[in-house]
Amino acid sequence: MLRWKYSRPLLGVLIILLFAAPFLGNNPLSHPGLQQTMAVAFLYGALALTYDLLFGFTGLLSFGHALFFASGMYLAVLFINHDVLVWWLAVIAAVALSTVLAIIIGSASLRTGGITFAMVTLAFAEAGHVVISRDFGGFTNGENGVALNADKVPSIFIGVFNTKYLFWISLATLVVVYFITWWITESSAGRVFAALRDNETRVAVLGLKPTRFKLLSFVIAAAMASFIGVVMLMVSGSAAPRFASADVTIALLLMVILGGAVTRWGAVIGGIVYSVASTRLQDLSQTTALHSVPKIISGPLSEPAFTLGLLFIFVVMFAPGGFSGAYYALRLRVISKK
Amino acid sequence: MNTLSVKDLHVKINESHILQGVTFEVPAHSVTALLGRNGVGKSTTLKAILGLYPSEGSIELNGQSLSGKLTYKIAQAGIAYVPEDREIFASLTVRENLLLATRNESDLQRQQMVNELFPELVSRSAQRAGTLSGGQQQMVAIARALVNKNEILLIDEPTKGLAPKLVTEVADALGRVAGETTMLLVEQNLPLVKRIAQHIIVMDQGRIVFQGSPEFLHDGEWVHTMLGVSGGHK
């Protein structure tokens, strides 16, 4: 086994430490600023993991995953703000309706496969993005998005002082999503998913319907994404069209590919690092160090997408396992030397 | 004078070592038949010569090395190929199939020869090749190899899966071509081999096990041991 024998106990300790951090006197995580950053990062880690279930474990290259993330977010904020449902029922309803949406879109898209599937899911997701950002029907408030009405949700979700609750909820979401994904990928359905990724014909020969299992994977990933969307609504305080754009799906792809598509922890680390880095890279690009360099070089370097894009191309072409793949290759070498 | 000379050819596909040091020569202006049971590496040998599989060893055409060259360069050097499953372009018309293959459009004499050899293709020139019968498709595949002046023809099981009447037609066509060109023929149909081949090579498990005269094909016991089929005098 390539797993390091202390990895699981250490992970447990790390999670407990993270949960306790806001209480442990004066440390970086006792400040709301970093709590907020990390809450967002944990959610992207979880979202990347749901995408990995789809792409890395089932082999479905969907470009529409952001749609379900955004639908959970928008449905929840609309139900809550318009007093349709009490907040916790609104959360359940948002996830349930997003799941129904996923069943419909998944069934339609899975009539195609491979690269066509990517194109079709992209078209659906962009359609959703357009509907949200153009304010069709007057619900979504266009580019400005919809702020969550603070009076309609419990006060522990509101205010800088309560950021630690959001931090905990996000961390808990990540842990729960991780365990659900772990449970699914290790279950018999998960083995079918992996078999579909590797050789679809073999699955069909065994008498299992490939499309049904693909839809299952698609819907589970979408349902989890919509829940993460609801939590993101709490953390960021509003629903905005940028959460529905193809940029989110492309960011998920970057996270999963850079982290390594065939491991769960690779996707999570990819998501967390990407999320933290994209906020930090923005600050870094404003530093004065770049001023001495001519604009023809400093211009692109000040755009985070430049570095990320190049890194992404490099990984796809030369290091398909990403970060976790490289780690396992290294461990394999260490073990075989012993 | 040998046209094609293959020395110590090795082909590995994934983990399996399919050709294990194949060495043989194809003499000029004659027909050499490559024989052997199914799966011993005959088709692989042809494909490796064309560079369709990566290989190790040396392949020379008239003394010029072909090893490591790209497939289209090898074909341009003067090797024509009629693949096992015909591999005609189904969505193209018969005329387009032949036009595609033609490297020198001003060689009218050659086009005339092909037209005389396969009159049926002339009358069907506007038909999509995918809608032709198996025998007609085989004729397109052979005609496609003949439209250019080549040093050697590699032909892989041209009579496979054809009705007996069509086998005769294809065999007649090959018989007429045989007089004018060098040919390396993979074929299971022994009567056809006896009729047109001057040399035979027998392969087994990725190696050459016999090279010599087709006389041996008249010895039933020899055929049975070497090729695993009943044959000889009938």
């Binding site: 078209a123 359609a127 069709f136 692109p300 755009e303 430049f306 796809v316 | 289209y72 387009e96 595609l100």
Partner: protein
């Protein structure tokens, strides 16, 4: 009736722009199986080079300089597409998912480079004076630039069909789609033909980029965004790989979108989504697409 006419023709004009984006996508996908997310960058590169030509090389703006800008933009974009194909795509031979992923990376890098150099603000693209004129059909006043888009789209459709059907390279491409190895075994450098496909796709996108910039009054690294998405939708509805299908779908979408938007602003996008879903459910191969065996 006049409004009906006006909206119909502007719809066809919009459809023509969608087609210019979709034709390259469809060509590259249909012939090579590459889902090209870098197509938006082809569009933007063409637009910026067209802008450079119109402002730095020529200093007047008339019909001929605009046509020249279109061609220069198209050539630049075609060349860029060729480089992308040679340097990146061919190294991922037959790995279609990785090819799609790597084009995502390229589009990120190109977007970042252009944004870093020029910023994301819209830069005015000079157009000939007659661009703002209108033509009267009955009593409907139709902006004359729409006819230019339609004409360019038609020319590209015809040129593309003729090239594939009647030229030697078209023959090689059609055969290569069916069986790449056999084309090589006939002594033909099939890779050259596929590079040509990328060049042509890029060329169409570059022309599209200049025209889209003219339509949206300027050039920026962000102009490709919605057009690329509509390009994808057009390709799916028209049938993957069918350029005539893309043309038909682009026209239908352009017209339906304009009528729906006239009826209620914002409705257009919604209707197009329903159309997409309907086509996928009833005819997953698209309007003129072939069913894969």
């Amino acid at each position: 009736m006049d409004t009906f006419m006006l909206i119909g023709i502007t719809g066809i004009g919009l459809g023509a722009l969608y087609f210019l984006v979709a034709s390259g996508l469809s060509l590259i996908y249909g012939l090579m199986g590459v889902l090209n997310f870098a197509h938006g960058s082809f569009l933007t590169v063409g637009a910026f080079v067209g802008l450079w030509f119109s402002t730095q090389v020529v200093h007047v703006s008339n019909t001929w300089t605009f046509i020249a800008a279109m061609i220069v933009g198209g050539l630049a974009s075609g060349l860029f597409a060729l480089i992308v194909e040679r340097v990146v795509i061919t190294r991922l031979y037959e790995r279609h998912i990785d090819q799609a992923l790597v084009t995502v990376g390229i589009s990120l890098v190109v977007g970042a480079v252009l944004a870093g150099w020029f910023g994301n603000d819209l830069r005015l693209l000079p157009t000939p004076p007659w661009f703002i004129n209108t033509v009267s059909i009955g009593s409907a006043h139709i902006p004359v630039d729409r006819f230019l888009y339609i004409a360019v789209a038609l020319i590209l459709l015809i040129a593309n069909t003729a090239l594939l059907r009647y030229s030697r390279i078209g023959l090689v491409i059609r055969a290569g789609v069916e069986n790449r190895q056999m084309v090589a075994a006939l002594g033909i450098n099939v890779r050259l033909a596929f590079s040509a496909v990328f060049f042509l796709g890029g060329f169409a996108a570059g022309i599209g980029g200049v025209l889209v910039s003219a339509y949206s009054n300027g050039v920026s690294p962000l102009i490709a965004g919605t057009y690329l998405i509509y390009g994808f939708i057009v390709v799916v509805i028209g049938g993957m790989g069918s350029v005539p299908g893309s043309f038909l779908a682009a026209m239908v979408i352009g017209v339906i979108k304009q009528y729906a938007n006239y009826y209620s602003p914002g409705l257009g996008d919604f209707v197009v989504v329903f159309l997409l879903a309907g086509v996928l459910l009833l005819r997953p191969q698209g309007l003129l697409g072939k069913v894969k065996p």
